[in-house]
C-alpha cells in the first residue's frame, strides 16, 4: 500500500528490524485501519541520543490539499553504562550485583580556570627573529674560522712577526727621538739614549761598562756581520758628532730612518 517513513537514529544505538503491524480492513467505501512499526532500540553507551523528527505527507481528498504531519524531536538520555570509545571492559559489569558507575566515565564538569590567551598570537616560526637566530650562529662560525685562520697566519708568518716586533721596539725606544725631530740637540740625545737602551735591553749589558769597543765585541759574538756592526757604530758616532755640529732636518730624518732599520736588522739576528 504505502511505506511508513523510516526512523533515522544515531549510529551508536543498536536498532533492530522494526516489528511491522497492520490492521487494515477493506470495506465497500475503501480501506480503513492502521499500520505501525515497532522499533526496539538498545543504547550501548551512556549519553544523550536525539531522535530526529519524522514527517509524513498525505493528500486529503475532501479538502483537496496536501498535509504534512511532523513529530517533534525527542532526546533520550541514557544514564549509566560505559561511555563510547571505552567499551573494551564493559562485559565485566553485567555479572556484578550492583553496577557501579565508574566516575571516570561520566560526563565531566566544566573547567573553572580560564587560562585565556589572545587568539591572534605572534608566531615565532617563520618570523624574522627566527631566521635571524638561525642564520646568526652560522655567521658566528664563519667569523670564528676567519679569526682562527688569521691567528694561524700570524704565528706562521715569522718574517712579518719580526717586522712587527721591530716596529714595536722602535716605537718603544725611538718614540722620544721622533717627538724631537725639530730640535737637533734633544733629538740626537734621545737617539743615542735609545740605541743604548735598546742594546741594554736586548743584550743585557750593564750601563756602566758600555763602550763602542765592548758593543762591537758583543755584537760579533752574536754572529752579526761586520757591516751590520759597523752601521750601528757609525750611527752611535753620528749621534755624538751631530750634537755639536750643524745638521739639517733632512740629515736628522735620515739618521732616524737608519736607526730604525739598524735596530730591526739586529733584532732579526738576535
Amino acid at each position: 500500500m504505502f511505506n511508513l517513513p523510516k526512523l533515522v537514529l544515531p549510529n551508536t544505538l543498536e536498532v533492530f528490524e522494526p516489528e511491522h503491524g497492520e490492521n487494515v480492513k477493506t470495506i465497500l467505501s475503501g480501506m480503513q485501519g492502521n499500520i505501525q512499526d515497532n522499533y526496539t532500540v538498545v543504547p550501548r553507551f551512556q549519553g544523550k541520543y536525539p531522535i530526529p523528527p519524522v514527517s509524513f505527507s498525505y493528500f486529503d481528498p475532501k479538502k483537496e490539499k496536501y498535509f504534512t504531519l511532523r513529530s517533534s524531536e525527542h532526546i533520550v538520555d541514557v544514564y549509566g553504562g560505559p561511555i563510547a570509545n571505552n567499551s573494551s571492559d564493559n562485559s565485566s559489569n553485567f555479572g556484578a550485583k550492583q553496577v557501579l558507575v565508574n566516575t571516570d566515565e561520566s560526563f565531566r564538569f566544566i573547567k573553572l580556570n580560564p587560562n585565556l590567551e589572545p587568539i591572534v598570537k605572534k608566531e615565532f616560526w617563520n618570523s624574522k627573529l627566527f631566521y635571524a637566530l638561525l642564520i646568526s650562529p652560522i655567521l658566528l662560525l664563519i667569523a670564528f674560522v676567519l679569526l682562527m685562520q688569521r691567528n694561524q697566519r700570524i704565528s706562521e708568518d715569522v718574517e712579518g712577526s719580526r717586522l712587527r716586533a721591530a716596529n714595536r721596539l722602535s716605537k718603544k725606544y725611538l718614540g722620544e727621538a721622533k717627538k724631537n725631530l725639530k730640535n737637533k740637540t734633544l733629538f740626537y740625545g734621545a737617539l743615542e739614549r735609545a740605541l743604548y737602551n735598546y742594546l741594554k735591553a736586548m743584550l743585557k749589558i750593564k750601563a756602566d761598562d758600555f763602550s763602542k769597543q765592548k758593543v762591537t765585541e758583543i755584537l760579533a759574538d752574536r754572529k752579526l756581520t761586520g757591516a751590520e756592526i759597523q752601521s750601528f757604530i757609525v750611527l752611535l758616532e753620528n749621534c755624538e758628532v751631530a750634537r755639536y755640529s750643524p745638521a739639517t732636518d733632512a740629515k736628522m730624518q735620515q739618521d732616524f730612518d737608519q736607526a730604525l732599520s739598524v735596530i730591526s736588522n739586529i733584532d732579526k739576528k738576535l
Binding site: 551508536t12 561511555i83 585565556l116 589572545p118 616560526w125
Partner: protein
C-alpha cells in the same frame, strides 16, 4: 611630559589589567550560569569572551558542554574539536567529546592507519609548530658551538668526539627543519570542518546528474577540499569522498 607619559602608560596598564579582570569575571559568571542550569546564558557569556579576541581550551570546552546540555550537536562537537586542537591529550575534553559524538547521527568508522603513518604522525606531533621552531634554533646554536670546539681543540680524541657530535647534530637539525616545514605545509593545506546541516546528500560529482553516494548528518567532521561554485568536496574519516551542495560546513580554522 615625562609625568604625562608615566600617567599614560600607567593608565594603559590599568586598562589592560581591568580588561583581563573583566573577562575573568565574565568567565566566572558563565560558569555559575552553567551550574545553575542556565545554559543559554552561559553560552552567551562564553561567546562574549570569544568575541573579545581571547581563547583557551577551557573556554571552548565549557562552551561545548553548554551546547551539549542544550542538545545542539553540531555546535557542541565543533567547540569540542576546537578545545582538542589546543589540548589534544586532555582527558576531560576527550571524554565529553565522546558523549557529543554519541549524540551525532553518523558514526564514522575511522580508517585504520599503517604503522608508518602512525610513526610519522607521532614525530610531527612531538612538538607544536612553535616548539619545533625553538628546537631548531637551539640545535643550530649547539651545532655551531660544537663545530667551534672541534676546530679549536687539537687533541685527536676530543676532536673526533666533537666531530661526531657535530655530524649527528647537523643531521638532527636538517631532520627537524624538514619536519617543521612539512608540519607547517600540512596545517596550511588541510582544513577540517564540522557539518551543520541536519541532513545532506553527498554526490559523486559536483552536479545533480551524478549519483548520491551517501547521507551525512549534523555534527560529522569532514576534511574540506576544493570548491566549485556552491559545491564543496569533502572526505570523511573512513576515507569516502564526495561533493556536497550549499553545505553549512564551519571550518575548524576559524573560531566562531
Amino acid at each position: 611630559m615625562r609625568k604625562l607619559l608615566i600617567l599614560l602608560s600607567g593608565s594603559f596598564l590599568y586598562c589592560s589589567f581591568a580588561l583581563a579582570q573583566e573577562t575573568e569575571t565574565t568567565f566566572e559568571n558563565a560558569n555559575s550560569a552553567y551550574n545553575a542550569g542556565q545554559f543559554e546564558k552561559a553560552v552567551m557569556l562564553y561567546k562574549e569572551i570569544l568575541e573579545s579576541g581571547q581563547q583557551s581550551a577551557e573556554l571552548y570546552f565549557n562552551l561545548a558542554n553548554s551546547y551539549y546540555r542544550l542538545n545542539q550537536v553540531g555546535e557542541s562537537i565543533f567547540y569540542f574539536e576546537k578545545a582538542k586542537q589546543l589540548q589534544p591529550m586532555d582527558e576531560d575534553i576527550n571524554i565529553n567529546s565522546a558523549f557529543a559524538q554519541n549524540m551525532a547521527i553518523d558514526a564514522v568508522e575511522v580508517l585504520p592507519k599503517s604503522q608508518f603513518t602512525l610513526l610519522e604522525e607521532k614525530t610531527i606531533e612531538l612538538f607544536s609548530q612553535e616548539g619545533w621552531a625553538y628546537v631548531i634554533v637551539f640545535m643550530a646554536w649547539l651545532l655551531v658551538f660544537f663545530w667551534g670546539l672541534y676546530l679549536w681543540n687539537k687533541a685527536p680524541v676530543v676532536k673526533r668526539t666533537f666531530f661526531v657530535s657535530t655530524l649527528v647534530l647537523g643531521l638532527l637539525l636538517i631532520g627537524s627543519l624538514f619536519i617543521a616545514v612539512v608540519k607547517s605545509s600540512i596545517t596550511a593545506e588541510t582544513t577540517y570542518g564540522i557539518l551543520f546541516d541536519e541532513k545532506i546528500e553527498v554526490w559523486a560529482e559536483p552536479n545533480s546528474r551524478a549519483e548520491v553516494l551517501f547521507l551525512l548528518h549534523e555534527g560529522t567532521k569532514v576534511q574540506m577540499f576544493d570548491q566549485l561554485q556552491e559545491w564543496q568536496k569533502i572526505r570523511i574519516a573512513n576515507g569516502s569522498e564526495g561533493w556536497i551542495k550549499n553545505a553549512k560546513v564551519r571550518s575548524l580554522k576559524g573560531f566562531k
